[in-house]
């Protein structure tokens, strides 16, 4: 992908006005009244949110807005106090995280989780679903899994090539650089043949050149028919690749819409993009009420 290419944006994703909680023409995830508190602090309190299918949705917001917590709730890594959410029409409330992943909803982590003392290739092969040899009884009979394992290996090498990691396949993942680990984690997630890919800050700590190739990979996911939901602080990237932007602050969805419009909303600029970058989060509370005031006008 070159710098000049502007990716084709998906449009017509929503029904009615692009306001927080607006309906989508073809939602993949539907979230209702999901609330999670840690002690006295309400980390997430989402009334209604729909994530459009086959599009790239960015989740942005200041630190502590509840983006990662929402990720954890949606993937079953954490349980909400109340609320329900559906993935392709199936309720996911109370479903353990590994089953969520088996349904095709895969995630990466903000702090990259490369399996350090496994080789890069083994890291990849672990991603593949429905492996015969992962059952303890059949594991003892190599005849039952050897063929499938060889196929998985081919697929893994193919993906590693795409992510420029094929030269590293025999090395321990511990020997990879931070950026390469991000790539490995994304590639490993793709081994599961997901329909929804959830990336938690895929660009954090990655150098500009690698960012460019990571962007290309994310766009490719959409081209291949997957849906992407990602948390990111890099506004340049959000503007460049996202089809839809959801803005969170203090656990709530405060704005959503296509990147061009959302990012020009005064409320978003104030709350997040930095009209007063040096003011602390406490002041944000005051500004969010401004959003409401402006809507009232």
């Amino acid at each position: 992908m070159s710098n000049n290419d502007s990716p084709i944006k998906s449009t017509g994703l929503h029904i009615g006005e692009a306001a927080p909680g607006c309906k989508k023409t073809d939602p993949m995830l539907v979230i209702d009244h999901v609330k999670k508190s840690f002690g006295g602090l309400t980390a997430v309190d989402v009334e209604h949110l729909e994530i459009p299918k086959n599009a790239i949705t960015a989740l942005i917001g200041p630190n502590g807005a509840g983006k990662t917590t929402l990720f954890n709730l949606l993937t079953g890594f954490d349980t909400p106090d109340t609320g329900a959410w559906e993935f392709l029409g199936t309720s996911l409330s109370g479903v353990p995280s590994y089953k969520v992943a088996q349904m095709g909803q895969v995630r990466t982590f903000q702090l990259t989780k490369a399996l350090s003392l496994l080789t890069v290739l083994d890291n990849m092969k672990l991603g593949s679903k429905n492996q015969v040899g992962e059952s303890i009884f059949r594991a003892l009979f190599p005849g039952s899994w050897r063929k499938q394992d060889a196929e998985i290996e081919l697929k893994a090498i193919e993906l590693l090539k795409r992510f420029n990691l094929d030269a590293k396949q025999a090395d321990f993942a511990a020997s990879l650089s931070g950026g390469q680990r991000k790539l490995l984690e994304m590639a490993r997630a793709l081994m599961t043949d997901p329909v929804l890919v959830m990336l938690d800050e895929p660009m954090a700590g990655v150098n500009p050149a690698l960012t460019q190739s990571l962007l290309g990979h994310v766009l490719n996911l959409k081209k291949e028919g997957m849906t992407v939901l990602f948390v990111e602080h890099d506004m340049h990237m959000v503007r460049h690749i996202a089809d839809w932007v959801v803005v969170m602050a203090e656990g709530k969805v405060v704005a959503e819409g296509p990147p061009e419009t959302v990012m020009n909303e005064q409320a978003v600029i104030d709350a997040y993009l930095g009209a007063h970058q040096d003011t602390d989060l406490g002041v944000v509370t005051g500004r969010i009420s401004i959003i409401d005031q402006e809507k009232d006008k």
Partner: protein, 327 residues
């Protein structure tokens, strides 16, 4: 100083039923800690359950020897499940605390006088090898076998052969599992269980399976130990757990042969120290009494364990890159 006896006794330590029993237990710990990352400090409890399961079912319920051994194995499986269900959802360090406590509970249950009829309390149990027919199953006619330090009577030879057979099966089993995709998931869980969960694997089920497999190996260790000596509650103390840990770390936690070779080195070294230290004390080189000298070896084991963890955490056979303690 009688160097001949010292060397002879040391070399004899290379191959004894005790060495085999501890190699099996260390193999179980390799499954738990080395591959699955489960900090089990209660391996002595698994051994005790294997040994008592065998002895009690023969003496109290009249099982044949092989039936008793199967009961011992089933006992270790149940112990693993009982231990695993409440603790495997917790963080690793909590498992360590719970296992060390559970092993002590098991030992005290066998020690208490409340069940003397069944467990023999502090006297332990004996005579089950004859009663259950294990001694009669000996295919070797009475006599003396082997040469030099490795001279055995037919009974010891039978236990050795049986123990080596069991050890070989267990080593093969562990090897076969760890080269499979199942083993890959287990090693992945050791590295980061959240990442494995995010890839759609039922981490809890895998951890429980690993705990059971390692538990069976530990139970088999207890059974082999019981097939040679009496079953006594004084054996399955916490220090035994740490001897097994030392053997494992000596050989290399995340290896197949490491725990076996580690156990052999450990018990050979023990034999050497328990022979040479009293001799040194007798010769006036060590300024302590003979009994004190014999216990000095445990001090040396402790120091050895510390040095090992600091300077060679991957053990003798471990991959240099694979420092199990370094994350």
């Amino acid at each position: 100083m009688d160097w001949g006896t010292i060397i002879n006794n040391t070399l004899a330590g290379l191959l004894t039923p005790t060495t085999i029993a501890f190699a099996l237990a260390a193999l179980g710990l390799a499954m738990h800690f080395g591959f699955a990352g489960l900090l089990n400090f209660g391996i002595a409890g698994f051994m005790a359950i294997g040994a008592y399961g065998y002895a009690i079912s023969v003496l109290t319920f009249g099982f044949p020897w092989w039936g008793g051994m199967i009961v011992g194995i089933i006992g270790s499986i149940l112990f693993a499940i009982l231990l695993g269900i409440p603790t495997l959802r917790l963080r690793g360090d909590y498992l360590a605390i719970v296992t060390i406590a559970a092993a002590e509970i098991v030992r005290l249950l066998f020690l208490t006088t409340a069940f003397t009829d069944v467990t023999g309390s502090a006297d332990g149990l004996f005579g089950y090898n004859n009663a259950g027919g294990f001694t009669n199953a000996n295919p070797f006619p009475p006599g003396s076998y082997g040469w030099g330090p490795w001279t055995y009577n037919s009974e010891t030879l039978w236990v050795l052969t049986f123990g080596l057979g069991v050890l070989a099966v267990c080593v093969w089993f562990l090897w076969a599992l760890m080269r499979s995709p199942w083993g890959r998931v287990i090693k992945g869980i050791r590295e980061d269980e959240e990442a494995i969960r995010a890839l759609g694997k039922n981490v809890f089920a895998y951890k429980l399976q690993a705990l059971i497999i390692g538990g069976i190996f530990g139970g088999m260790g207890g059974i082999i130990f019981a097939a040679f000596a009496n079953v006594s509650p004084g054996v399955y103390v916490t220090s035994i757990t740490f001897f097994i840990w030392t053997s494992l770390l000596l050989g290399g936690a995340a290896t197949i042969w490491g725990p076996v070779i580690g156990a052999v080195i450990f018990w050979t070294l023990q034999a050497f120290l328990s022979n040479i230290l009293p001799e040194l004390a007798l010769a006036g080189i060590l300024p302590v009494s003979g009994t004190q000298a014999a216990t000095l070896r445990f001090v040396l084991v402790g120091i050895g364990l510390m040095l090992l963890v600091i300077y060679r955490p991957q053990g003798i056979f471990g991959d240099k890159r694979e420092l199990t303690f370094v994350k």
